[in-house]
């Protein structure tokens, strides 16, 4: 069959039209397909961070206050495992010498030496745990939170080795039997995954503040956007001297201690 140049171009043109119509159809199908939205009430921030007013906390601590820790444990089904080296912790108390080992002068006021410091994941801007995770089960979300994707975690515990704050816990056993009362709205974990504080990302997503911040009657926990100079958090940091844990490591922790 002879094909004139004219016919060839015509057929070519038709073919091109046919191909592009596939794309048009696909784009149409996409516009018809389901969509995923954020909750309109969700809190927005460039970088969520926290300041802990140590003085206020100590005042309440006299009365053995543990409201924040209890609220967190309940909200996230954190098990209470009696074997010390298998403990699972999101938010807990630590002594100064353990929380700030490089800052110690040994001549601090007795109060500083003896009183507890609340510790949790620092949601580091340069999080070493995220860099080492081979499966990207731990990753930074767009609001500065170091996230855990339990479905992806293979339990290699590289992240635990990398975290300089001991903020991560491994589930050595099925945690269910060690949860006295299960919160039905939040999953538990399975044996073999790592977990830690994630600033209550599930609460932020529906416009609530973290459970610990809400639970603290002394208003010792200040939560907000570190990138917003008008946030309560930034105002608190501008008005009081604060320290962070092991800042010399360059992890840029997002948890501040107002002294």
């Amino acid at each position: 069959m002879d094909t004139s140049r004219r016919d060839f171009l015509k057929i070519g043109g038709l073919c091109a039209l046919g191909l592009s119509s596939v794309e048009v159809a696909e784009a149409f199908a996409k516009s018809q397909a389901s969509k995923y939205l954020t909750n309109p009430k969700a809190g927005a921030a460039k970088r969520w961070a926290m300041a802990i007013d140590v003085k206020k906390c100590w005042k309440a601590e006299k009365k053995e206050c543990k409201d924040c820790i209890l609220a967190c444990d309940w909200a996230h089904n954190v098990p209470d495992i009696p074997v010390k080296r298998q403990e699972v912790k999101w938010l807990w108390n630590e002594k100064y010498e353990n929380a700030f080992p490089d800052q110690e002068s040994e001549l601090e006021p007795v109060e500083v030496k003896e009183k507890p410091f609340l510790v949790l994941c620092n949601q580091c801007a340069h999080a070493p745990c995220v860099r080492v995770c081979p499966t990207q089960a731990t990753f930074k979300n767009d609001q500065g939170i170091t996230m855990m994707d339990m479905h992806r975690c293979i339990g290699c515990r590289y992240c635990m080795a990398a975290c300089p704050y001991g903020a991560r816990s491994f589930n050595w056993r099925d945690p269910r039997p060690y949860i006295t009362k299960i919160n039905p709205d939040y999953p538990t974990r399975d044996r073999g995954v790592v977990e830690k504080c994630d600033f209550c990302v599930e609460r932020l997503a529906v416009g609530k503040i973290p459970a610990c911040v809400e639970a603290c009657k002394s208003k010792a926990l200040i939560f907000g956007d570190l990138d917003d100079p008008n946030s309560d958090l930034r105002k608190a940091l501008a008005s009081r001297y604060s320290i962070r844990r092991k800042p010399e490591l360059g992890t840029m922790p997002g948890v501040y201690y107002l002294m």
């Binding site: 074997v83 609001q143 060690y178 009362k181 299960i182």
Partner: protein
């Protein structure tokens, strides 16, 4: 025609044939009770027009894919609201959305999963973390034992 070692070859072929067709005739003729998942829950009963997130036949074949996409959207992208093709909005959560209607795991989820031959203790393992409505803490009694163990 003569087949060398014909006896062995024919016996071998016969054995091969029986083995290969084993799955076809093994269960043949046995009646298997239908899975019969139940949607009799208070919330579904109260619905004027009963409908799920997607049409029923799609939910049957695609719910696991849907859940996987939900997981990705919620955990990795912080999206929590699903807009179904019909425009209705759903909270992308097993606990607060799926179980809100399907509060009867044993008569709903399990019946089909067991029918399909999924051993519910291992696969699907969604429920080893996601809390089933009305679930009592299965092993709360074990705690006392371990307390002793560690002392």
């Amino acid at each position: 025609m003569k087949i060398y070692d014909g006896k062995y070859i024919l016996i071998g072929l016969l054995v091969f044939g029986v083995l290969v067709t084993f799955p076809l005739w093994f269960d043949h003729g046995k009646a298997v009770a239908p899975a019969d998942p139940s949607i009799k829950t208070p919330v579904i009963e109260a619905m004027m027009a009963k409908h799920c997130i997607l049409p029923k036949d799609r939910m049957i074949t695609e719910h696991m894919k849907l859940l996987n996409v939900w997981r990705t959207q919620v955990v990795r992208y912080g999206k929590t609201v699903y807009v179904a093709p019909g425009g209705e909005k759903y909270d992308m959560s097993l606990e607060t959305e799926c179980f809100r209607c399907h509060s009867n795991k044993a008569e709903f989820c399990d019946r089909c999963h067991n029918y399909a031959g999924l051993d519910k203790a291992t696969d699907p393992y969604c429920f080893s973390c996601h809390v089933v409505p009305g679930e009592k803490n299965p092993g709360a009694g074990k705690v006392a034992m371990v307390h002793k163990e560690s002392k």
